[in-house]
Amino acid sequence: MTTMHSPVLEVPARPRRRLPKPTLLIGLALLLLLIFAALFPRVLAPFSPTDFDYEALLKGPSAKHPFGTDNFGRDVLSRVIYGTRTDMQIAIFTTLFPFIFGTLLGALTGYLGRWSDAVVGRVADLVVVFPFLVLVIAIVAVLGPGLTNMYIAVSAVGWVSYWRLTRGEVMSQKKAEYAQAGRVLGYSPSRILLRHLLPNAVTPAIVYLMTDMSLGILLGASLGYLGLGAQPPTPEWGVMVADGKNFMATAWWISTFPGLALTLAGVTFSLIGDGLADALRPRA
C-alpha cells in the first residue's frame, strides 16, 4: 500500500516488458537454421544434390545416407538441404511484392478514402471471388510454368490481404491525436501518411507476412508438385515429393523427408507469426 504514505516519491511503475514466448524463440531458432541451410547448403550437405550415383539407387536411410537415396542415386538429405534455398526464395518472392504493394495501397486508400477506396475495394472483392490456387495456376498456365511466372501470378492476387489490413488500420489511426496534431502543425499529407501513420499501421501486415510466408511455401510446393512451379532438376521440396510419389511403396523416404521439411518450414513461420502477434499486441 505505497499510496498510503509519501505518494510524492512514488515513481510510476513502468509496464513490465513481457518476455517473448518460447514459441517465438523456437520459431526464430528454426528460422536461423533454415536461413543457414539456404545460404550455405554446401557446409551442411554431405553430397551434391544433382550428382547421379548408379551404385546407390533407392537405398534406404543409413549412416552414409541418413535420408536414403532416390531413383537416380541422389542423396535425399543433400537435396532437402539444397531445396531450402529454393523454398526460402519462394517464401520471400511470393510475399514481398504483395506486402509492399498491398501495404502502400492500403495506406493510400485508407487515408484518401472516397472513390479511390471504393475502386480498389471493388477490385479486391473481385479478386477474392477466384479461388487463390485456381487463379494462380490459370495465370501460370497462360504465362508458362516456372518460378518467375508463379511470382507474377501470386503478386497479382496476393496483395488483397495486405491492402485490407493496412487500410483498416490507417482508417482508424488517422483519427488519432498524433495524426491530427500533424495536420495542425501543417505537415503535408504525404509526410503524415508515410512518416507517421504507416509505421504505426503496418503491424498487422507484418504479422500476416509471416503467416503468408508459410502459405507461400505451401503454394509454391503445390505448384512444384503439379509441375507448374520450380522445374527439375532444381531441388525444390514440392517437386521432390512428386519425384518420389511413384516409389511410395518401395522407397517411402524420397517423398517423406522433403514433405517433413515443408511442414517444418510452415511451422517455423507460423510460430514466428503467432509470437509476433502476441509481442506486438498493444497492452491493455
Binding site: F130, I137, V142, V241, K245
Partner: protein, 312 residues
C-alpha cells in the same frame, strides 16, 4: 431477415458476374503472342493461324469480342474443348457433381472434427488439452495437402488396403467409400483452418456477460452450452466455411489430381498441361461463380442466424 436485404444482396451478384466474365475473358488475352498460335502450336502455318483467328473471332476489336463472349456465355456456350473436342459446358456438367460431392463430404468431415475439438479446447482453455489440440492443428495447417494425400494414399490405401486408391465408385455408398481418403485429406486441412478461429469465438461467448447472467440465473450448463455457446459456434462455423470455400476448391484441385478422381479439379490440371484454353477459361469462370454464390448463401444464412448481421 428483411426481403430488401435479400434483394439487395441478390442484385449485387450481377456486377460481380460481369466483372468475373471480363477477368476470365482477359486472362487468355494475356497469352504471349496470339491465342491461335498458342492453341495450334509452333508448326501451324501463318495461313492456318489466320483462319483460326477468324473462326474464333479474334480478328475483331476487344470490346466486340467481349460482347460475343458474354452473349455466348448467356446461351450456355463456353466453346469446345481443344483436346477432347466436346463442348466445355458438357464437360464441366459431367465432372462438376464429383467435385461438389467431394467438397461437401470434406466439409462434413472437417466440421465433425473441428467443432467438438474447438469446444473442448475452449472449455478447457489454457490447459494441456487446449495446448495439445492447438499444437496438432498448427502443424496440420503447415502440412501440404498433396503431401497428406500422398501419405494417406500410400498408408491406408496401398499398404493396409483399407480404402481404394482411386476412382469414384458407382452409387452413393460407393462414392462415400471411394472418396473417403480424399475427403479426409481435405477435411483435415479445413479442420486445421477452422479449429483456431472457432476456439477463440467460443471463448468469447463463454466469457460474455450474457452467459454469466445465464449462469447467475441458474440455467444448467448444458442449456447454456446448447442455447448460447453452440448456437454461436454454428454461426461462426457457417461463416468460416463460406470464407474458406476458395481454399476448399484449391484443395480439391490438388486432391483430385493425387487420387485420380474424375472431377473438375483434375480437369483443370489436365487442361493446363494440354493447353486447353477454353476449358481453363470455363473452369475458372465456374469456380468464381461457385465462390460468389457460396458467399451469397453464407451472407443469407448468417443474416438468418444472427439478427445483427443485416445492419452491417
Amino acid at each position: 431477415m428483411h426481403a430488401s436485404y435479400v434483394i439487395r444482396r441478390l442484385l449485387q451478384i450481377i456486377p460481380t458476374f460481369l466483372a468475373v466474365m471480363l477477368v476470365v475473358f482477359l486472362l487468355v488475352r494475356l497469352l504471349p503472342g496470339d491465342p491461335a498460335s498458342a492453341i495450334l502450336g509452333d508448326r501451324a502455318t501463318a495461313e492456318i493461324v489466320e483462319r483460326t483467328n477468324r473462326e474464333l473471332g479474334l480478328d475483331r476489336s476487344l470490346p466486340v469480342q467481349f460482347g460475343v463472349f458474354v452473349r455466348n456465355l448467356l446461351q450456355g456456350n463456353l466453346g469446345d474443348s481443344i483436346s477432347l473436342k466436346i463442348p466445355v459446358i458438357r464437360l464441366i456438367g459431367e465432372r462438376l457433381p464429383t467435385t461438389l460431392f467431394l467438397t461437401a463430404y470434406a466439409a462434413v468431415l472437417g466440421v465433425l472434427m473441428a467443432v467438438p475439438l474447438a469446444v473442448l479446447a475452449a472449455v478447457r482453455r489454457n490447459t494441456w488439452v487446449d495446448a495439445l489440440i492447438r499444437a496438432v492443428f498448427q502443424v496440420g495447417l503447415s502440412l501440404p495437402v498433396f503431401y497428406v494425400a500422398l501419405q494417406l494414399l500410400s498408408l491406408l490405401g496401398a499398404r493396409l488396403g483399407w480404402f481404394p486408391i482411386g476412382g469414384y465408385g458407382e452409387n452413393f455408398t460407393g462414392h462415400l467409400y471411394h472418396l473417403f481418403l480424399p475427403a479426409l485429406t481435405l477435411g483435415l486441412n479445413l479442420a486445421a483452418i477452422l479449429v483456431r478461429t472457432l476456439r477463440n469465438s467460443i471463448i468469447e461467448v463463454l466469457t460474455a456477460e450474457y452467459v454469466d447472467f445465464a449462469r447467475a440465473k441458474g440455467l444448467r450448463s448444458r442449456v447454456i452450452m446448447t442455447r448460447h455457446v453452440l448456437r454461436n459456434a454454428l454461426i461462426a462455423t457457417v461463416t468460416l466455411l463460406g470464407l474458406n470455400i476458395g481454399a476448399l476448391i484449391g484443395g480439391a484441385v490438388i486432391t483430385e489430381t493425387v487420387f485420380a478422381i474424375p472431377g473438375v479439379g483434375r480437369l483443370m490440371v489436365d487442361a493446363i498441361f494440354g493447353r486447353d484454353y477454353p476449358v481453363i477459361q470455363g473452369l475458372t469462370l465456374t469456380f468464381a461463380i461457385i465462390v460468389s454464390l457460396v458467399f451469397l448463401i453464407t451472407d443469407l444464412i448468417h443474416a438468418r442466424l444472427d439478427p445483427r448481421a443485416e445492419l452491417t
